[in-house]
């Protein structure tokens, strides 16, 4: 198990380094902060002064090394070109709303997906099963931002039940969380259902039933525990997609999180902020994958020796 974790850990660090280098490289060759941020009548001396101030006159590798060292050793992502404050401060403010949204969405998805998936599996071809299949179908074709707008129109504009933008109260969280939750719900539901179906036909389930183990216990303890493995893996893998969905959701609902910050920064060319968010999203995704790898190896010892 230790070798397994160390291998995975080294791999994760490698991926993180590659992401940081590639995104730095891409932005280095695209960004022209002087022309974006200085007044139009700035002359060469102004530009040189500006580049010196931000250290942009140095070779790319030196800038990258400097950037990386500051991020790793001081947690310092540099300064925003537009807002003129530390990138870390901007991100500190936006991080919690995004996490709150992601967690709420994950809870909604799990609370619906697990029971629906289990019922669909044990009552195949029943009404619940058909509804589940239908939801999966619709969910996969639904553009998130459209769903968000439709929810805004129905619950915000017509019924006036819920606020449609901002993040002050719990009520503000409901529509964005439903929107983002619906993004991951279909896959989760399908996984629970097919996982349960597969496990329920195994011999040890028949054995448990034959021993007279109570049906609820068979389902939860013997079946669901094993069916949950793909769910654990996929929850990790889909974390990146969840953050991508958060970008979309936050834009539609003006939710003050990292996703909206990323989009606003991309649109005004504030690349230090974009760079930091890409890194943070990447790091979260890598960590989630790592946790899923270790988690499933822990649940299922066979994986460790693969």
């Amino acid at each position: 198990m230790r070798t397994y974790i160390i291998t995975k850990l080294l791999h994760a660090v490698g991926v993180a380094l590659v992401i940081s280098f590639v995104s730095f490289f891409l932005l280095f060759y695209t960004a022209d902060p002087a022309s974006t941020l200085l007044p139009e009548n700035a002359d060469d001396a102004d530009i040189a002064e500006f580049e010196k101030q931000f250290g942009l006159d140095r070779p790319m590798l030196v800038q990258y090394g400097d950037f990386l060292a500051k991020v790793v050793f001081q947690g310092d992502f540099g300064s925003s070109w537009v807002a003129k404050v530390l990138v870390g401060d901007l991100i500190g403010v936006a991080l919690w709303p995004t996490l709150k949204l992601a967690i709420a969405a994950q809870i909604i998805a799990a609370v619906l997906a697990i029971p629906l998936g289990i019922i669909a599996a044990i009552r195949r071809y029943s009404l619940v099963d058909n509804v589940t299949t239908f939801l999966v179908l619709v969910g996969q074709a639904m553009p998130l931002f459209w769903l968000g707008i439709v929810l805004i129109i129905i619950f915000g504009v017509w019924l006036k039940w819920l606020p449609v933008s901002g993040s002050d109260t719990f009520a503000h969280l409901i529509l964005p969380a439903i929107t983002l939750g619906s993004f991951i719900l279909p896959l989760n539901m399908r996984l629970v259902r097919s996982g349960m179906l597969e496990v329920l036909s195994q011999d040890y389930i028949r054995t448990a039933r034959a021993k007279g183990v109570e049906e609820g216990r068979v389902l939860m303890k013997h079946a669901f525990r094993n069916a949950a493995i793909p769910l654990v893996t996929v929850t990790g893998v889909q974390f990146g997609a969840l953050l991508g969905g958060a970008v979309v959701t936050e834009t539609v609902f003006s939710w003050p999180g990292l996703g909206r910050l990323a989009i606003e920064s991309i649109q005004v060319g504030d690349f230090p902020v974009v760079q930091a968010i890409v890194l943070i999203f990447g790091a979260f995704t890598i960590l989630a994958n790592l946790a899923a790898d270790i988690g499933s190896a822990w649940i299922d010892p066979r994986i460790r020796f693969d």
Binding site: S126, Q140, W146, I149, S194, S201, G244
Partner: protein, 306 residues
């Protein structure tokens, strides 16, 4: 979406009491329903393709023609009386005709983006899976690194670097999405490489290229086609989101994403302006996904999902 369950989502045949519980008429109904969904999907896809190919014949107006005096007219189903049967937008352009022309943009970008990512991903996957060694490690590592990037941020950054245009949206979506194809191709190629008929072909003295294309790729074509279909639907949704943010197709080109973004300013009153183009995206993606499901059933019964 690739099945992530251990056996590729194959459902065990369960003829025991679980399946026996469903009355025969329900099973027949379900089979008919599945068939009908496939037919429905092909119908939606046919409409989409027809709209794209014959836009000038199907549209009733010029999608660019503005009529400032006839702005925001009611659609026919809400009691509008003009000859614009889905009403007009904020510039007096015919909404129905713009939606029809939008199919052209969406389909063209969706298909082209998938072609780009499929070509990159399949070539890399075949090389990695077939030759193994350092190519395999490199491809595997790149796939993991790419998957840790938040997709939407990567695509957005690429569009900003390349500039917002239809061609660049195709490139950005294509480049961001190749890992899906590489991953599946690589894993399947590795399995096929060990098959006896492949070893026999090699023993007969066939060249590597010939073996890869005639004996390995030929056996991968069916599952890859199914994945490609689903990815077209996802690319369409992603294109509309980029356009929605102003990073994709630029106005006045009739793209569903642009129309949604423009209509969003009017959600309080003219709700159909944003919801109708969104419904078009949804129906297009739904149709393509249903066709994907039907193809899966037709081409590879083993991959049939429950």
């Amino acid at each position: 979406m690739v099945d992530t369950t251990a056996n590729g989502g194959i459902e065990p045949e369960r003829q025991d009491k679980q399946a026996g519980r469903a009355p025969i008429w329900l099973l027949v109904l379900r089979k008919a329903w599945q068939l009908r969904m496939g037919v429905f999907g092909f119908l939606l896809l046919a409409i989409l393709v027809a709209m794209a190919l014959f836009s000038p014949l199907i549209a009733t107006h010029d999608p660019y023609a503005q009529d400032i005096l006839a702005r925001l007219e009611l659609p026919g189903f809400l009691g509008g009386t003009s000859d614009h049967w889905l009403g007009t937008d904020q510039l007096g352009r015919d909404l129905y005709s713009r939606i029809v022309y939008g199919a052209r943009v969406s389909l063209m970008i969706g298909v082209s983006a998938v072609v780009v990512s499929a070509v990159i991903g399949i070539v890399l996957g075949l090389l990695a899976g077939y030759f193994g060694g350092w190519i395999d490690s490199l491809v595997d590592f790149s796939v993991n690194a790419m998957l840790a990037f938040p997709f939407i941020l990567l695509a957005m950054t690429l569009v900003i670097i390349l500039g917002a245009s239809a061609e660049n949206v195709i490139l950005a979506l294509g480049i961001s999405n190749w890992p899906i194809f590489a991953r599946v191709t690589r894993i399947e190629t590795r399995k096929l490489r060990e098959q006896e008929y492949v070893l026999a072909a090699l023993a007969q003295g066939l060249g590597h290229l010939r073996v890869i294309f005639k004996h390995i790729f030929a056996n991968l074509a069916a599952p890859l086609l199914v994945i490609a279909t689903v990815e077209i639907a996802r690319s369409i949704i992603r294109e509309t989101f980029l356009s929605f943010l102003g990073l994709g197709i630029q106005p006045p080109t009739p793209s569903w994403g642009v129309m949604l973004a423009e209509g969003r300013a009017y959600v309080l009153t003219v709700w159909w302006l944003s919801t109708l183009p969104g419904a078009a995206i949804f129906l297009a993606a739904l149709g393509i996904n249903l066709v994907g499901d039907a193809l899966r059933d037709l081409l590879d019964p083993r991959l049939r999902k429950g």
